[in-house]
Symmetry: C2
Subunit: 123 residues, 2 copies
């Protein structure tokens, strides 16, 4: 780890794509990230904690996603055995997978021109 000349480059690249439905963002980097964490933790609030995001915000994102898609992406339950929780629906899993696939494709497609662009930036 110590061998790299700079511990963190001053040059960065951020690619983000958003899917809109009407005037709302149905899916984007934040929402897909949230989906992943919900899938991993089985809980909206635990996902939010791990992302250092307020539960309130996380819940609003979930609500928007569920509203924009034909079928809900997240199914949540209150109380009960595990004192509530949430999970991705089949649709949610598929949508997340597609988004991640999109992400990977963009990464590989931009690799080379990006490198050239970076060379024009200051050091």
């Amino acid at each position: 780890m110590a061998a790299k000349s700079e511990r963190k480059s001053r040059k960065r690249f951020k690619s983000q794509f958003r899917i809109y439905f009407e005037e709302e963002i149905a899916l984007g980097p934040g929402k897909s990230d949230l989906l992943r964490h919900i899938s991993e933790t089985g809980s909206i609030s635990e996902a939010a904690r791990r992302m250092d995001m307020s539960y309130n915000r996380a819940w609003l994102l979930v609500r928007t996603m569920n509203r924009c898609f034909k079928e809900p992406l997240v199914l949540a339950s209150r109380g009960g055995d595990a004192r509530g929780g949430a999970e991705l629906t089949k649709t949610g899993q598929q949508v997340l997978a597609l988004y991640q696939q999109l992400d990977a494709k963009v990464k590989s497609a931009t690799r080379h021109p990006l490198k050239r662009l970076f060379s024009y930036l200051k050091n």
Copy 2:
């Protein structure tokens, strides 16, 4: 035009990539668009008018770009024969071309998974 079932789809996709230098956005969708218009019009203010953007904002974007790259992308002059104007430097042209290339690559790379994603959205 009247035959299409919807005059404008409610589903949209926006892909944008930004290149950061330190904490500033060195290049992004807006800035590259501005570069194009400056190249076409030979003027920052005319470019701004066509983009329905204030001259002030356009100038700030140009200033940021010029600050982030090794060499300025835009060269401007005041007064004089044409009463001032601006043009892209050779570097500016190359950077713009690279960005547009990036854009095209992303478009073609995302085409198919995007279509599938759209099918999950409400109509």
